[in-house]
């Protein structure tokens, strides 16, 4: 760790580490490089900060420290990667950075971040606190679409913006914030896997400090929880569970003498059986009680249907609508055709029993419910059950079923 020749850097980092102890590892982990004449303090994706000493000379240690913390947050929240994933074009980079700034500032500025100039806050973007950069980005776009002068979109308003909101001229946060490589970028810095480890360490620090209530801003704590135990998209989980259930049935490949094996030619006198593979029938039981959210149910049904179509099983699907009684089975070719009849109370046991009574008997049954239902004590024989629990507060499914929680995005 060498001295880059930036006045007040040590005091600034010390201020940051004391003010935000849960981010200290990140603040010390970033390498600071003096870059005379750049007129900005920017950060690249390899955890290097490029600071113009002439610019920072006018700042107090608290201000320089705040800029360091702000940039570290860009890196922690992987704004560069996310910008590329969102499809931010180079001419939209500045808008994206404003959105990313809002995501960082909305809870760090109340916690005592002292940025030079006026920081971008969600209310400047006409949005509420606590959203993600992607959501702020959409908010700015929507606001610009309303025809209010295109503020915040495109490079033309660059000068106007820095006068208005971030006087001090450090607005170019660098490739660490928008993921667009700068021409001056050099190889080196922290390799990606070490940056991952560093990010994880900071998340552990944040989570450890978060055990004392009121010490860590809620948004940062949410970030740490997401890093330490990432929430997997329910679509991936639901599809994987369904594929597995179908595979277990389809994998029950058996030998049959009805047709001779294609290997018979090499076996001489021996008659070999051919392999036959069962094609599983699938039933979907939908909870139609009043407590269900129709939008979410339609989304889940569409996912289930899409997957079954990909597996070549779309023709085998039957859908049952169920509350306390069961509606007749509908053979459908699209999720839009499902009619949700019913209301009042729920009993999924009745729905599962009705699915088991169908002929041909389904090998896999998908139950979509909000979980407020009695369940049979035993699983039905010879049938695999995959449960989609809809809504964030759904009670657990019985242990004999494979359950996936479906939460609104």
């Amino acid at each position: 760790m060498s001295d880059p020749g930036l006045d007040g850097l040590a005091a600034a980092r010390l201020w940051a580490a004391v003010k935000f102890p849960y981010l200290a590892t990140g603040v010390f982990g970033a390498q600071v490089i003096a870059e005379r004449g750049s007129g900005a303090v920017s950060v690249d994706e390899s955890w290097r900060m490029h600071a113009d000493p002439e610019l920072t000379a006018g700042w107090t240690p608290a201000q320089l420290g705040s800029v360091l913390v702000h940039h570290v947050c860009h890196l922690l929240r992987t704004h560069g990667e996310r910008a590329q994933a969102t499809g931010v074009r180079p001419d939209e980079a500045r808008t994206w950075v404003r959105a990313a700034d809002a995501e960082i500032n909305d809870d760090l500025v109340p916690a005592g971040l002292d940025l030079p100039g006026r920081p971008v806050l969600p209310r400047d973007l006409r949005a509420e606190d606590g959203l993600l950069a992607e959501q702020y980005f959409e908010a700015i776009r929507a606001f610009a679409q309303e025809g209010k002068g295109g503020r915040g979109v495109g490079p033309s308003d660059r000068s106007g913006q820095s006068d208005e909101e971030t006087a001090g001229g450090w607005v170019d946060c660098g490739s660490g914030a928008d993921g667009i490589p700068r021409p001056s970028s050099r190889p080196g810095g922290l390799p990606g896997w070490q940056a991952d480890l560093l990010r994880r360490q900071v998340a552990l620090d944040v989570a450890a400090h978060g055990k004392l209530p009121g010490t860590v801003p809620a948004g940062l704590l949410r970030w740490a929880q997401q890093v330490l135990s990432p929430r997997v998209n329910w679509r991936v989980l639901l599809k994987a569970e369904l594929r597995r259930a179908v595979a277990e049935v389809a994998g029950a490949v058996d030998y049959s003498y009805r047709r001779p094996s294609r290997r018979s030619a090499v076996a001489g006198q021996v008659v070999l059986p051919a392999l036959r593979r069962p094609v599983p029938e699938v039933a979907v039981v939908c909870d139609t009680s009043g407590s269900m959210t129709a939008d979410l149910l339609a989304m889940v049904l569409a996912e289930v249907e899409g997957l079954l179509r990909a597996l070549g099983l779309a023709r085998q699907v039957r859908v049952l609508a169920c509350d306390t009684a069961v509606g007749p089975a509908q053979r459908v070719s699209s999720a839009r055709q499902v009619q949700l009849i019913g209301g009042g109370g729920t009993n999924m046991g009745a729905g599962i029993a009705a699915a088991a009574a169908l002929r041909p008997r389904p090998a896999v049954t998908v139950v979509l419910t909000d979980g407020y239902t009695p369940w049979p004590a035993e699983p039905p024989k010879g049938m695999r059950i995959v449960v989609g629990l809809i809504g964030s507060r759904a009670p657990d499914a019985p242990p004999w079923a494979r359950a996936v929680r479906v939460e609104p995005d």
Binding site: M1, L14, W15, A24, G29, L197, V236, L237, A240, R243
Partner: protein
């Protein structure tokens, strides 16, 4: 593929160490051509078998009546590999193979047994698959098969595609393992076993959900694989990035990251040793590591603040203050709060006054 792509490097190390490896990647991203090129450079005959159009008996052997018994005859590709004595068996389209074929592949991948024929140990097994999300007719890999392979994510870098189209594809760089590299395995096995003593829960943790069952997950077999890959990576001088890709590919992301984090923590000085001999203290180069080392030393003093330990702690901070006054000052604030009664103020404390005052943390 650029030669410095960590996945290519990791693939080379795994092939050289004869650890079965599986490349996950979208169709058309050059997995097959990279593997063929690698086999050619290494001088290995390459046999490509597309798993999805085979039947289980192609891997378990075809039954033939011989006299009064039945022999399981191996197919021609297996015979060719056995005759050559070495080679590369490339199993393509692994994830679109139906579950019954995947079950038949279990013995081929790990034990190299095809019917009654045992392939020589010098045959490397490499597989490729499209993620189930991308292959319409794909199956998740069964957990037992997934556990026999080191999983590498194959990503394309747009810049290297552009270069390759214009100027030809650069051949992959194949690492060379020096003779006797297996000696390093003793060391890496020691590291893995020390880690598993600290985190016994990670010795065997089968995944609970179906989506992650088809990827690497920690089990005694994969930890052994990880130890072998670690040894091969350090013997061939592979980059740290490739090493991390290999470890995470063998035991899964979660356990792999924990192991790597534990490895880098191993490099930090032991606080008790430093306090016993403060003059020998070397401050780690990277800022966050220096912070971790000094914070650990300050915390060690704070748990048992005897006058000797307290003074030794200040001596360490005094050394560190030359290089990183800010990092040392954070630790100094911890030490200042646990001063044992009747101990004289150390001389080093004055070195922190200017920086503390500049940061506004001292009154006047």
């Amino acid at each position: 593929m650029s030669p410095n792509n960590p996945a290519v490097e990791a693939l080379g190390v795994a092939v050289a160490a004869r650890v079965p490896v599986l490349l996950w990647g979208a169709p058309g991203t050059g997995k097959t051509s990279a593997i063929r090129a690698m086999a050619q450079i290494m001088g290995l005959p390459c046999e490509t078998v597309i798993a999805s159009i085979r039947e289980p008996s192609d891997f378990a052997g075809l039954p033939i009546v011989v006299g009064d018994g039945v022999r399981f005859a191996p197919p021609a590709w297996a015979k060719r590999l056995a005759e050559a004595g070495h080679g590369l068996l490339f199993l393509d389209e692994l994830s679109t193979a139906p579950p019954a074929v995947q079950a038949a592949l279990l013995r081929v991948v790990l034990e190299r047994a095809v019917g009654d024929l045992l392939l020589p140990a010098a045959v490397a097994v490499v597989a490729a698959a499209n993620p189930p999300e991308q292959a319409a007719d794909g199956w998740d890999l069964s957990a037992p098969l997934a556990n026999r392979l080191c999983h590498l994510a194959w990503q394309t870098d747009p810049r290297s595609v552009a270069d390759g189209l214009a100027g030809g594809w650069a051949p992959p760089v194949v690492p060379v393992l020096p003779d006797g590299w297996q000696a390093e395995e003793v060391l890496s096995r020691g590291l893995v076993s020390a880690f598993l003593r600290v985190r016994p829960a990670l010795a065997c943790a089968p995944p609970s959900d179906a989506a992650s069952a088809g990827r690497g997950w920690p089990s005694p077999r994969t930890w052994e694989m990880a130890a072998r890959l670690l040894a091969a990576a350090s013997a061939s001088g592979a980059s740290d990035e490739a090493r991390s890709v290999l470890v995470r590919g063998a035991v899964g992301d979660g356990a792999g990251i924990e192991f790597l984090a534990w490895l880098s923590e191993m490099d930090l000085p032991d606080p008790e040793q430093v306090l016993a001999d403060p003059v020998s203290f070397q401050l780690p180069e990277r800022g966050d590591r220096a912070y971790a080392a000094l914070a650990a030393i300050a915390a060690a003093v704070a748990t048992d603040p005897t006058p000797e330990r307290w003074t030794a702690g200040w001596q360490v901070l005094g050394l560190a203050a030359d290089v990183a006054p800010d990092v040392a000052a954070v630790a100094a604030r911890v030490l200042a709060k646990c001063r044992p009664e009747g101990t004289a103020l150390p001389a080093e404390i004055h070195r922190f006054v200017p920086v503390l005052r500049a940061a506004g943390l001292l009154q006047a």
